[in-house]
Symmetry: C2
């Protein structure tokens, strides 16, 4: 059975895209077949995997809001790394919110577009934009699990309430199979007082503590350099903190099956 993960947090810049790319690559290194689905109109996961968006070749836009002329097999591409495939995004996706306003079942467009992929991959991991709008709701309607990157900073911590409420609402109204697999502390810098404080706050919180993953992603320059090189960090520099942390995350996700 394919595990389908949404990586989401409406706070911007918390490490959603970095987590999608690097968890995907680390799972591939563990021998799993992985598909990345980029549902962010800024297509950073596409770019971070070294793929150039191409309107002619097609993108997730064609599946979610296009005229139906392209199928999932038309737009799905392989990356340079065997067993790590991608459905790229494109800036056209920005228009999808408005284009789908009047369309019935607009929150289920992704789910119906990707239903034929069931069983073809061990993991399907979806990147989302920094908002709880229609694109993210589409991902919540399709996925069975949510991974919540949370920068150890008060603005990211404060965003969790609204995010959890939204996931609960989707769970009740649209997709009762959706549950939160875990909260991932990211960009953790042990030099800052605030980093420690927020990590402790997460651990102590009734709602968030039990969901906090053991793996903590440390802030480290290799992650930023690898994103610049268009490569996941496990392929960019194996012995780095980034590669270590995302490998640990992959193993922890494998050890925690979907609820």
């Amino acid at each position: 059975k394919t595990r389908v993960l949404a990586v989401a947090n409406e706070k911007g810049g918390v490490g959603k895209t970095v987590t999608v790319i690097n968890l995907g690559a680390a799972l591939q290194q563990e021998g799993r077949q992985v598909l990345i689905v980029d549902m962010d109109p800024q297509f950073n996961a596409t770019r971070g995997l070294g793929v150039e968006p191409d309107a002619d070749a097609g993108s997730i836009y064609d599946l979610v809001a296009g005229d139906g002329s392209k199928t999932v097999n038309d737009v799905l591409v392989s990356t340079r790394w065997e067993g790590l495939d991608l459905i790229p995004s494109h800036v056209d996706l920005t228009g999808a919110e408005v284009e789908l306003v009047e369309v019935a079942g607009r929150e289920d467009r992704l789910k119906s577009a990707l239903s034929e992929l069931e069983g073809r991959y061990d993991f399907i991991i979806c990147d989302t934009p920094p908002s709880l709008s229609l694109l993210t709701i589409n991902v919540f309607s399709y996925a069975r699990e949510v991974l919540v990157p949370c920068q150890t900073h008060p603005y990211a911590y404060a965003a969790l309430g609204e995010l959890f409420d939204t996931i609960d609402a989707v769970g009740q109204e649209i997709n009762d199979g959706l549950s939160i697999t875990g909260i991932l502390a990211t960009l953790y810098d042990q030099r800052t007082r605030v980093g420690h404080r927020i990590l402790e706050k997460l651990k102590a919180d009734e709602r968030y503590g039990p969901l906090l993953l053991d793996t903590v992603i440390r802030a480290n320059t290799t992650i930023a350099d690898s994103a610049d090189a268009g490569k996941p960090v496990v392929f960019y520099r194996r012995g780095s903190y980034g590669a270590e942390d995302y490998t640990a995350l992959a193993r922890e996700i494998l050890s925690r099956p979907a609820r």
Copy 2:
């Protein structure tokens, strides 16, 4: 004449809110009267100034999408620092996008709501959410200047094209008085190869180079700690890198009048 600045970049987590709060406070320290307008439904600028959002007291939502029962003077609050006022945000603002879809002149709601403030402040600085949607367009319709924080990282750099195109389009169709005052390099970490590379790329670019401000905001832990304390960095720790950099920015903005 009041200078009205939009602080915008659709890439998440590039330091928009940190810049709004700290530039505002640094300008107040230079003796200017400053108003912060928080147009992000996640109300981080409100929180970062130590103010709790309160639906009864009102927020920017009441002015942009409410029933007209509240005026700008009802919702405007002073912060703990004399000469630094705020129009707070509230989570209700998330609904404004959808609520205003059918309303004529929906992009001008902010402009008409705040028109009576002309001349009351030296600076009005607006925070925006990480998207180019209706809330950000409202700010572009109202403001006369745009300050673009750009993290020295490839994802933030790549977002500039779409942002500039959007500002150009607003300038032609809605607000011909809008121009870009500058690009502010933020979260600059001289230890990373990518930090240097993106800064050099910005300087060398035909479109972005001439707009790049001299001030560069360095990544430093005091900024994160001050945000956690609900205080601008110039009030949190005067001698820190953060206080130095945002004071330099305030002086540079004062020396570069609106185009």
